[in-house]
């Protein structure tokens, strides 16, 4: 499982039937400080996550096949949960962390002060 941020969606008419069971969104995997880490991936969304929301995506095909209910589905990324708050510090949904993001070793000061 991986933390990711929803950066967009795609539309596709010709696709594998298992992809019609939900919306296909573009997820940007995030590192510990919440910065983009690696290339964006496509994930199947059945929870209705909004744009720029942080989500938890599964990175294992067998789990996704059981959740989608199709044993022949080539999908791997599936949105399991929409994250409200991350433990390392509090990050408001849709708000960018400030430029000077504290490194983990500098204590668990909240990334964005809770209003």
């Amino acid at each position: 499982m991986q933390l990711a941020r929803i950066d967009g969606t795609i539309t596709s008419t010709a696709c594998h039937p298992s992809m019609r069971k939900g919306r296909t969104v573009i997820c940007q995997p995030l590192d510990l400080e919440g910065r983009p880490d690696g290339a964006p991936v496509l994930a199947l969304d059945q929870l209705g996550a909004g744009l720029h929301q942080m989500v938890m995506i599964s990175t294992d095909g067998s789990e996704t096949r059981t959740l989608v209910g199709d044993e022949r589905s080539p999908l791997r990324n599936y949105i399991q949960a929409i994250v409200d708050e991350r433990g390392a510090g509090s990050w408001e949904r849709g708000v960018n962390p400030p430029a000077s993001v504290p490194t983990p070793t500098s204590g668990s000061k909240p990334l964005v002060p809770r209003s």
Partner: protein, 97 residues
């Protein structure tokens, strides 16, 4: 699943019997700028992938392809394939914060 542009086709001479009748595409993965709408040429850097065509994609189209063990799952018999084109992209709405 990653996105990529179809830049060519691969025809197999001698191949595994399970791959008979398969259609293989040469796909160049998109860079983040191309997600946001940058022109597809010049092609992004990165390894070109040979992808089994499950949706009938033509050259210049953008496909979503899954890699690894999940690519061999759609086949009824065990097939040595590790990249499978599972969707043909019509529109990409990409707007990072």
């Amino acid at each position: 699943m990653r996105l990529g542009t179809v830049i060519g086709k691969v025809t197999l001479g001698i191949s595994d019997s399970a791959l008979k009748g398969g259609r293989f595409l040469l796909v160049q993965p998109l860079s983040r700028e191309q997600f946001a709408g940058a022109p597809l040429l010049p092609l992004a850097k990165g390894a070109t992938v040979v992808v089994y065509d499950g949706v009938g994609a033509g050259e210049g189209q953008i496909v979503g392809f899954s890699e690894g063990a999940e690519a061999a799952v759609p086949f009824p018999v065990a097939t040595p394939i590790d990249a499978y084109a599972s969707c043909l992209i019509d529109q990409i709405h990409y707007s990072p914060p």
